[in-house]
Amino acid sequence: MNLAAQLPVLPIIIPLIAAPLTILLPPRRLKGLLPYVFATLVSWIVFAASAALLHSVATAGPISYHMGDWAPPIGIEYRIDLANALVLTLVSGVAALAFPFSYASIRAEIDDRQLSMFYAMALIAMVGLLGVVITGDAFNVFVFVEISSLSTYALVALGAARDRRALTASFNYLVMGTIGATFFVIGLGLLYQATGTLNMADLKIQLAGESNRMVEAGFAFILVGMGLKAAMFPMHLWMPNAYAHAPSAVAVFLAATSTKVAVYVVIRFIYTVIGADFDFAGAAFNWLIAPLAVAGMMFASIVAIFQDDLKRMLAYSSVGQIGYMLLGVSFGTEQGLSASLVHLFNHGLMKGALFMAAACVVLRLGTQTCAGYAGLARRMPLTAAAFIIAALSLVGVPGTVGFISKWQLLAASFDSGRPWAAFLVVGASLLAVIYMGRVIELMTMREGAGGRTKEAPATMLIPLYILVAANVYFGLNTEMTVDLAERAAVALMGDAR
């Protein structure tokens, strides 16, 4: 009974136990440092455990952990292969930066008395996302999705102290999110009815060769439900407002992780559960996912150009970026899948950095409109520089992670005989040049209203710069992300066969 054998369950169990303990910590003594430090430490431990898992999976192959020692398919299985170890590391890594980052920002934006609750809820949101990624049991996915969603609704609503629109945004998110999750459950019910099992690997075995309408309907329900959670193009309406009005630190964490996790679930169900060679999934690739991905890329990028609110613009940009990921999935090739996974990881890095920079601006200048960014390069040079690097990464300038994932996507689209997709990817990137360039132009060329402002505190700048550095590092050294993603894609495709 050594700790290493229990490693797969640690990222879940530690924050799950820590969350209620956080509530007990006094929010107003020592300037609220107690819950903050505690939650931050927990997030670091979780990151360490996830990194250890990634290392172990990368060297020794997939891990299957039997919850309570009940063997699958009866018991709940935590199954970690390269694909989810990668997403796990992304989620816990962003959390390990977002928690230390949050202190100054969240104290300025919410009531001090809510601080303990906030950190407890943030931990639970993290548990939910990690659980979705780590589990190998289909119904467990639903439970964890709802755990993360419920705490996210509350976290978004906390923005009400600054702007009451956070409340309506949160309510809309709740309605849409619940519909999405319920669709997902209906889909699971249909798959269960067809197979009598809920273990993903076992579902795959049972579904092999099955191609009746019930399975198809189940797959459709799951795709729509998770599409809603992932803000897949026509179902993205909850997202811009939720991200724009949530407390800045919450937006950092959500933007970098929550939709990516939903995309991961889509990938997992398509490849590991349904199997990509399943005729219906193939049809869904060509006639549903690809067109919607392209429409999302173009439409959301165009809408982003016309946004006045910077965070809302970033949220629309996220809808577009989700389009890239789904486009890669829809190729149905190893390369496309690998490009999707790389972009999933990289996009978490760049959106995390952008939202962090936006949070610094909100803290010091109290504005999140694009107009408020005028002259930022002179007023807050460090923040502005970080924002510009992350923005270039989003556009896809060589030397940043954005370039790597777009390069992979272009290569995949040519290789799978879809040159049109490559042109659309480039077209959408040009739109990104317009909407990010507009802000960069404001920051560097225009005169701002005020003089030089104090930079955000070090607790915010350091995590911001770590993320920016990751944007550049993984843009130059692609060994880790691309290689792992390629191996993960091969493994997923292997699952599908």
């Binding site: 439970v143 709802e146 629109r165 949160s170 619940t178 019910g189 269960y192 009815q193």
Partner: protein, 226 residues
């Protein structure tokens, strides 16, 4: 005609689909946030019904392990009939005899009776007619028919053939019900806060208030009454 039978045999799905569509329609069409919440609940409940109905097996009893219970009962049936009655009653009370349970017990009772003493087998119709009498039926059967411990093995063997409903969907949906309650609670709490912040819970008024905050006036949108 075939189609009619096909459709009627699947009546549980019709209930599920109708409720689901009603719920979704309420969520989309109603502007009042409370009504939206209710619609969401109807929608979720339809899924609960769907799950519960797929777990139900015709004539199946509640998935509670019966053989040991029966063995114990038969071993003592001869000399401790009264205390046995008390015990079974307790068990039945804990089970909360609902309809499916009731059927299941009838089934078990009948099997026991036919196995050991066909002559004294109670009339099946009479058992079905007995209102909420699951506990009584099963008590009646062993008391009438079982003579001694010797019958125990046969009975246990027979009990293994009892049809159980599939417990897994029911357990799953218990989880989903809890999630649904939590969602409703969070949603209602949000509505209270919205009402405090805006003074209304009508969606169009909320939108108008947000538009005024954003643009300084209500922008003209086609299809919306001024």
């Amino acid at each position: 005609m075939d189609f009619v039978t096909f459709a009627l045999e699947r009546y549980n799905y019709w209930i599920f689909i109708t409720l689901m569509m009603m719920g979704l329609y309420i969520v989309i069409a109603r502007g009042n946030l409370i009504k939206k919440m209710i619609g969401l609940n109807v929608f979720q409940t339809s899924v609960f019904i769907y799950y519960i109905s797929i777990g139900k097996i015709d004539g199946g009893t509640a998935p509670i392990y019966l053989p040991d219970d029966l063995k114990a009962r038969t071993a003592h049936a001869g000399d401790h009939a009264p205390s046995l009655a008390g015990k079974s009653e307790m068990g039945a009370g804990a089970l909360r005899p609902d309809e499916s349970l009731h059927d299941g017990f009838d089934l078990a009772g009948n099997d026991l009776a036919s196995l050991t003493a066909p002559a004294e087998r109670p009339d099946a119709a009479a058992i079905h007619a007995a209102p909420a009498g699951g506990a009584n039926d099963i008590l009646a059967a062993p008391a009438l028919t079982i003579d001694g411990p010797g019958a125990g093995a046969d009975l246990a063997h027979q009990a293994a053939d009892i049809l159980y409903s599939n417990p897994l969907p029911h357990v799953l949906i218990l989880t989903a019900i809890v999630v649904g309650i939590a969602t409703t609670a969070v949603g209602l709490a949000l509505i209270v806060r919205i009402r405090e912040a805006y003074g209304t819970i009508e969606e169009d008024e909320l939108e108008a208030a947000d538009d005024i905050a954003e643009f300084g006036h209500i922008p003209h949108k086609p299809g919306r009454a001024a």
